[in-house]
Homo-oligomer: 425 residues x 2
Amino acid sequence: MSTNTPKNTQIWLPFTQMSEITKNPPIEIKKAKGAWLYDNNNNKYLDAVASWWVSALGHNNPKIAKAIGEQAKKLDQVIFANCTHTGAQEVAKKVLNLLPNKLQKVFFSDNGSTAVEVSLKLALQYHHQTGNPQKTKIMSLNDAYHGDTIGAMSVSGTEHFFAPYKPMLFKSPKIKNWNKLEQTIIKHAHKTAAIIVEPLIQAAGGMKIYHIKHLQQLAKLCKKHNVLVIYDEIATGFGRTGTMFAMDQIGTSNLYAPDMVCLSKGLTGGTVAMSITACSNKIYKAFLGPYSANKTFFHGHSYTANPIACAASIATLDIFANQNIIKNMQKNMQYFNDCAQKFAKNLPLKNFRALGWVAAWDIDDVRKSQKQRLSPIITKTALKYGLLIRPLGNVLYFWPPITLTKTEIDFMFNTTKKVLNEIMI
Amino acid sequence: MSTNTPKNTQIWLPFTQMSEITKNPPIEIKKAKGAWLYDNNNNKYLDAVASWWVSALGHNNPKIAKAIGEQAKKLDQVIFANCTHTGAQEVAKKVLNLLPNKLQKVFFSDNGSTAVEVSLKLALQYHHQTGNPQKTKIMSLNDAYHGDTIGAMSVSGTEHFFAPYKPMLFKSPKIKNWNKLEQTIIKHAHKTAAIIVEPLIQAAGGMKIYHIKHLQQLAKLCKKHNVLVIYDEIATGFGRTGTMFAMDQIGTSNLYAPDMVCLSKGLTGGTVAMSITACSNKIYKAFLGPYSANKTFFHGHSYTANPIACAASIATLDIFANQNIIKNMQKNMQYFNDCAQKFAKNLPLKNFRALGWVAAWDIDDVRKSQKQRLSPIITKTALKYGLLIRPLGNVLYFWPPITLTKTEIDFMFNTTKKVLNEIMI
């Protein structure tokens, strides 16, 4: 299959060294269906990264598309202060029904980064208004990734991207070693408002999977030391880890449930941008009072709880419920896992790890001495064979729609094998 | 008309003291058309704030709704790295055609705050990569408002909202007095990467209108001192100030054009969230190089250049062009201005200012001694009479769709007069 060059160069692509786009031109995608993207020449590509991890149910689900089209005709947008709409109420209700009972309120925003920013601001203001204004730090994991706005970057750990922005970032004490979790928390707790983590798997941080027990310990320690726990389930939510949310595996009782959770990506079935920060009543109540007490949460975006995005979200959550997606995906997910278990054989891959619909390996880079980055070569070669994969640096991973069929799973693994064999000689 | 209480209280509304929602329950909006919002009982409300300044062309324009519905069926979303799509290319082309020639590249993101964050990060990284790593400050105007994420808040000036977040914000030197602009810039220039301003009117900062000449002087001084100029046209863009963009009134030659401009709100005709940070080739080129030089702009959001939002934007820009909106709105805009000029007579309003489709007054608060906030009382009373207005603290303003008819203009002014007379006695 041939790639086709975009018609103009007026666009600056995200996370892309633009000097390389002549060598690695982006594919112009015209339409999509399920797990497949189609270019102008009707070549098709299996979207094995679910388009940056958003298309949980695959592309262009007709039910979601219909909901979007109908909502656009009825109520496109309304200011979400002094006004509300049933769509937002439906989303709030459906999402809270899926979350631990501890989470009782929903604050809408537009993307993962803003959902994280909301959680960080809520954390500081919560302590400010409950007698602990000295609690102004947010702790985070080593190698964390929570987004690209200044607040979200400040609690991320991929520092090598960040050198120019350092003067704009605030400092976040890091949890570097789970075995020293208690000491680390005790050391910083007196000044710490919250800890933010991606539960069970650090995705952009390198597909690093870690044990449930650490999060259970984290929950207990944070409760003891009056530190809020924020779960960033932007990547992990909506079936990715094998359950609806990663937190379902950790325990949803009040003992283990987080104080806040950030959701986005799959929230609209991968169709339009929207996000949610859900929080406990304890947090919500700390913001109530007469206006003059200055406890209001002064945060909002123009398109907060956009009715079209809410319609997409309702349709998505209905599909999850009515089609029993989580239960029905288990068989193919197991097949995906079986294939992944066997995949590295005779390939230059090591450190296999897998969770739900994620599988990852470190590439044992035999070309290291040639100083060639393998990631773009792998992507380019895979596109030639009709597969979209994008290694994270040296980490090869699969993160397909959770509705993938066995035939598509076979295609994904077989094609990747062909690619690796072709370029790793 | 009666208001109707929302069915659940699972939602935390933005910029709202939630203890007051029983007293001031949000209206549940069911549908919209043009300048009008309709509740469940078919009561209608003129949206005189264009739903947080986004619905430039009014609500539910059939052309935009159709474009959204069709795109949702064809290509909902695709990762915007390694892939692209014609929608994004069309938007980039159409937007750049409307902007000064100096602006040559488009970086997409999801909302106003992220568009600003992108501009701030580009500014620091630009200087970092062109031999001036000491240029790490962003200057901004007193009382500026550029959004609610940590970076955007850091360059904003409404500090009274910000006390709990102060430990997370970076410092931004302020331009407090236009008459001392040169001294202020000279004082900070050696360490300053960029200055960010809302051109001609500080909107959320209190509808403060200022003269073109200050921005012309700013452009010249910044050029001289190697400081980038960022125009935040998120609120001012798409016809609001009487021209397509506020910058059109300042001068679009290379002498006066900004180095970057942030767009959102009206970009999709007020239908779904999307934003753009446009920049000059000078900036773009400073990010080119071999990957190993680490000059890549590592920023992106999952839904960057979302195809559905791009379809909405193309339809919006086509309407502006084909219906010659800017030219054809001038007559009604003049009528709006005439009405506004005369409006304060016999009303407790002072400090009238107006620009394009914006008119504002400070409320001469006769109730001050009673310590009642007038803003929510005005909003509540206006809703009773079928009008949505939301004073910014003590600032009464109109910011309607730019397609408002004379009859609607009359209704807006007459109803507001009735409201003020009723509550200001």
